[in-house]
Amino acid sequence: MKRWYLQPSIWLGAAVLLVVAAAAALAGVLFPDDPLDMVGAPYTWPGADPATPLGTDLMGRDLLAGLAHGARVSLLVGVSSALVALAIGVAVGAAAGFYRGRTDAVLSRITEFFQTIPAFLLAIILVAVLKPTLGTIVFALGVTSWTSVARLVRAEFLSLREREYVRAAVAVGASDAHLIFREILPNAWTPIIVSTGLLVANAILSEAGLAFLGLGDPNVVSWGSMIGLGRDALRTGWYMTAIPGLAVVLTVLALNLLSDGLQAALNPRLRRVRAA
């Protein structure tokens, strides 16, 4: 049996995320100029000019500076919309699993409905209707991606509320709020934490997708918008598309690895399979 800190995927994922977070934090220091400014000759291939090690795009903008500033947008949107999704998902799942009965029936129908309509399409429509800004993008991605959390939390609550310690708390007259927040929720954190990594990963993918389709915040550089711009030069300078794309892949991969590693380390059922 492996301890969580012995999972190599956790270390690998955490290391990559640290680099991305550092790039985001230091973007303003390392690249103080506006990443949307022209700094060199357009179509400079990576390695051709030491001033712009990753090359320039078709408007002569520094790709490395774009990557660093784009990391801010990706992480900010990814983490914030995951938090929005977590808040909605935990609230819906906890209410459905705790109160059961009619509450559960209604909330489960709503969850099912949100699972039925394509989340990305609904996010596109919300952003298009509300006008693209970082705030509306976070909102749109958050309200369209909470269903998996809600189902997870509901299942946890359904099983945990039958446990003896919960019944004991009921017997001594604990309030619903105490039962939910003090007794049950603290024991349901493990699967929630594991799924948070996936939520952030999916939000980063979706944000890049929105920006690629031209629905990003027009005032900031994002990895998705860099890819969308590079697409116009796909035949002559495919590196403009490849480089920001690799940044997305690495970040999402790191989150997935971290989440897989935590899952394997924290989930006793998987550990048994692993030992078998």
């Binding site: 989340a119 990305f120 596109i124 209707v129 269903t147 031209g214 892949v249």
Partner: protein
């Protein structure tokens, strides 16, 4: 007899769900329309450029925008019930016609991608489950993790660079060569060649999803007692895997197909956009660019209907695979971790 009854019940359940989804989407659509700055008629007027004021007033009356909100909602629902999804000024066509035109290409794309990714995913998953944490498993698992970490629009662009620009093997956009004048088998081959890269893009992502799922299910199934019994009876390894274990391991995969169908439709938006594949996704993108909100909302309703129908097929497949589902008509078990949206 009992089988027929349980299938009938599932059919009825999905039909009710269909009505519920259409109703809820319509209400959501209505709320979004109301959230827009200006009303529908303003949107239409601004889109089509110059519209005479009398015509605007006429439109307001036509859409009943001079009446109260509940009346408007009822009217909206009534029109949708009659199949009237509105008129797109951008495309100069009723929205319903637009949807029907674009449905075929999307179904072809999504269907082919589903078929390829389930078959390949299950086979790879089975191969990986043979020896958990062995070499094959480690390599396949690593590839799968990379496969579903890449954004689809980027994968498609990279495939275009490789197969379209560098190697020049495959066409990179459209449904077919418009001016080639192909007929018969040659025309079908042309369709397939155009379908190849978009399908491959979707498949790279979903093969990874299904391979992971099939692997986990297969490892769990292979640890069951009845598998040991089969081995003890002297069944050959491929018999144990393909006759005894696979049937059970397929259940979560099939369930996931239903859960994933809406994400797959969402993913097809970007893929269709990149490859200029004239389906619902590209229609949505064109509608975004021209802020043709009625078309977007209609695509949303249409997607909901498609997903419910896909889930009906999943019900039938589950009944075919699992006798317990057939007899007890109890809701089949759901996979615990649903991988979410995919751009």
């Amino acid at each position: 007899m009992r089988i027929a009854r349980s299938l009938l019940r599932s059919l009825l359940r999905r039909l009710l769900q269909l009505l519920g989804v259409v109703f809820a989407t319509a209400v959501l659509d209505f709320a979004l329309l109301k959230a827009l700055p200006g009303d529908l008629v303003d949107v239409i007027a601004s889109e089509s450029g110059s519209v005479p004021p009398q015509y605007v007033a006429q439109l307001r009356q036509l859409y009943g925008l001079d009446r109260s909100l509940p009346e408007q909602l009822l009217g909206y629902l009534g029109r949708i019930a009659q199949g009237d999804l509105g008129y797109s000024f951008r495309f100069g066509e009723p929205v319903l016609n637009l949807l029907l035109d674009r449905l075929g290409p999307t179904l072809a794309l999504v269907g082919a991608a589903l078929l390829l990714s389930t078959v390949a995913g299950v086979l790879l998953g089975v191969a990986a489950a043979r020896r958990p944490h062995g070499l094959t498993d480690t390599v396949l698992s690593a590839l799968a993790t990379v496969g579903y970490s890449a954004p689809m629009f980027w994968t498609s662009l990279m495939l275009i660079v490789l197969f379209g620009v560098q190697l020049e093997w495959l066409p990179v956009g459209g449904l077919r060569e418009v001016n080639a004048g192909y007929h018969g088998a040659r025309l079908w081959l042309d369709y397939l060649r155009h379908l190849a890269l978009p399908v491959l893009t979707l498949a790279i992502y979903y093969v990874a999803v299904y391979a992971r799922l099939a692997r986990a299910a297969m490892i769990e199934t292979l640890a069951e007692d009845y598998i040991r019994t089969a081995r003890a009876k002297g069944a050959r390894e491929h018999q144990v895997i393909f006759r005894h274990a696979l049937r059970n391991a397929l259940l979560p995969v099939v369930t996931m197909l239903g859960v994933q169908s809406s994400a797959l439709l969402g993913g097809s938006i970007v893929v269709e956009t990149v490859f200029a594949w004239p389906g619902l996704g590209q229609l949505s993108f064109e509608a975004i660019k021209s802020r043709d909100i009625p078309v977007l909302l209609a695509v949303l309703i249409c997607s909901g209907v498609l997903v419910v129908l896909a889930n009906l097929l999943v019900d039938l497949a589950q009944a075919a695979l699992d006798p317990r589902v057939r007899r007890a008509a109890q809701p089949p078990r759901q996979p615990s971790a649903a991988t979410g949206s995919a751009a």
